[in-house]
């Protein structure tokens, strides 16, 4: 309606244009500006502002009708142009605002859609994730079962290996035990040997002790024997002295290099050319035997002598028999036979001259040599 009203105004102006002056540029521009503004968004979006522009243009037109070329008409047209341009700008601004609001609405809607889609996607993703997780869990369960089986297998294998190792260890332990037993046995044997050695040593020691004791006993015995021997020796010496004194009283007794020599006259012992002891001779030999038996462990040599008359062989034989007779008699009286020797000396070793009866009587003799040391 405003446009039609404006068109009528323009038509009126055109009618007067032929008889009036030409409209100033300001008014022409104002008309064009209003035309532009009325065809833009201002008519729909800012009709009030467009109406103000229209009123301003009306004022300019009315002033143009009254004062076509006045400054007032130009200024009103100028203001009308600015009002029209302002209405157009405000319309554009409103359009931009509407566009912005629409864009914001679209943005919000799009955001909502995106959020909704995102939620759906999220839901789908969660569902797929859950499915994938379930599948993963399933696979994991399968893997776990497989791993468990492998682990069981490994455990069994390890157990088997451990058992094998334990068997080996048992064998090793057995070997070690055997070795230790052997070592122990060896040690025991060694100890036994040591013990035996010790026992032996002890036994030796005991034996040595016993030997020592025995030796001591022997020593004591020997000492006792020595003492006894001394006593015996003393007694023997006494007996010997007694025997020697007795023998000295019985016959001639001389101390020679070979020992004591007891000389018995042959006339006392034997008849001439006889080898049998006369009774007085036996009595004398009994005394001699008694004296000799008082002296133990002395070797005796009975030597028979003759005078120089007669053959030597005869004298030799006679002297031997006479020595044997004395020897036998002494043995019968108890003197040890092994300690008595009998030797016939014949006419050898005369003690006197054979040219006289007295001398020959002295040469017919029997000598009993009592050796100094007894020989077993």
């Amino acid at each position: 309606m405003k446009t039609s009203h404006y068109v009528s105004l323009v038509a009126c102006a055109a009618l007067f244009a032929g008889c009036a002056t030409v409209a100033p540029n300001e008014l022409v521009d104002a008309r064009a500006a209003y035309q532009v503004a009325s065809q833009g968004p201002a008519q729909q979006l800012v009709p009030a502002d467009l109406h103000k522009a229209h009123e301003a243009l009306n004022l300019a037109e009315q002033s143009f009708l009254k004062e076509p070329d006045s400054y007032k008409t130009k200024d009103l047209a100028y203001v009308a142009q600015r009002k029209a341009e302002q209405a157009a700008a405000l319309g554009s601004t409103a359009a931009s605002r509407a566009s912005k609001e629409g864009a914001n609405a679209d943005f919000t809607q799009k955001q909502s859609e995106i959020v909704l889609q995102g939620k759906r996607d999220l839901s789908d993703s969660e569902r797929r994730t859950a499915e994938a997780r379930a599948e993963i869990d399933k696979q994991a369960a399968i893997k776990a079962a497989r791993d468990q089986a492998e682990a069981d297998s490994q455990v069994q294998q390890a157990q088997s290996q451990r058992q094998q190792a334990e068997i080996e260890q048992g064998k090793q332990n057995l070997r070690d035990s055997e070795n230790r037993a052997a070592a122990k046995q060896a040690e025991l044997e060694k100890l036994a040997a040591v013990k035996a050695a010790n026992d032996k040593a002890d036994a030796d020691s005991q034996r040595q002790q016993a030997d020592l004791q025995r030796q001591q006993a022997d020593l004591q015995k020997q000492q006792a024997d020595i003492l006894q021997g001394k006593q015996d020796l003393k007694a023997s010496e006494q007996r010997t002295a007694d025997a020697v004194a007795s023998l000295a009283s019985l016959a001639s007794l001389k101390e020679e290099e070979r020992g004591l020599v007891l000389t018995l006259s042959g006339s006392v012992l034997f008849q001439s050319a006889k080898t049998t002891l006369m009774p007085p001779a036996q009595l004398k030999l009994d005394q001699v035997a008694t004296a000799l038996l008082a002296i133990p462990a002395r070797n005796l040599i009975v030597e028979g002598y003759t005078d120089s008359r007669g053959a030597d062989a005869y004298n030799q034989d006679l002297s031997q028999h006479r020595a044997d007779a004395v020897r036998d008699y002494l043995i019968r009286k108890g003197y040890p036979a092994n300690r008595i020797q009998a030797q016939g000396k014949g006419k050898g070793s005369p003690v006197a001259k054979n040219d006289s009866a007295e001398g020959r009587a002295n040469n017919r003799r029997v000598e009993i040599v009592i050796e100094r040391e007894s020989k077993p």
Binding site: L76, A89, L90, S96, R97, A103, F107, K110, Q111
Partner: protein, 120 residues
């Protein structure tokens, strides 16, 4: 109440005052409305929008012209010139708002486009 409405009210008050005191020749030129309009345009960032900056400059020059005429005793011409200054200042404000709103709209559209592109 929007900023544009407040500006309109201010201009209306200034215009009414100008009209009331216009008949009195001895009344000095009242430039409050044009001055307020120019300051509003400056606050709206008209200096940063080429077309708005042009009209802001025109408003300043027209106000200065009006002052000169008023100084020479041409009160009516000065008063009419102040109407030019006021209309240029208002247009500078509208153009500043238009530019800002267009930029925001383009940004919103671009944001939607980018969003759609990112979520294809």
């Amino acid at each position: 109440m929007t900023q544009r409405s407040r500006i309109g009210i201010k201009l209306f008050v200034v215009a009414a005052a100008t009209t009331i005191f216009a008949g009195c020749a001895s009344v000095p030129l009242r430039t409050e409305a044009s001055t307020s309009g120019i300051r509003t345009a400056e606050e709206a960032g008209a200096a940063n929008v080429p077309q708005a900056a042009l009209h802001l400059q025109l408003a300043r020059e027209e106000q200065e012209t009006a002052k000169n005429w008023a100084a020479r005793g041409e009160k009516e011409k000065a008063q009419s010139m102040l109407m030019r200054a006021e209309s240029d200042a208002e247009l500078a404000v509208a153009l500043s708002h238009q530019d800002a709103e267009r930029s925001e709209a383009l940004a919103a559209v671009e944001r939607v486009r980018q969003l759609r592109k990112d979520n294809q």
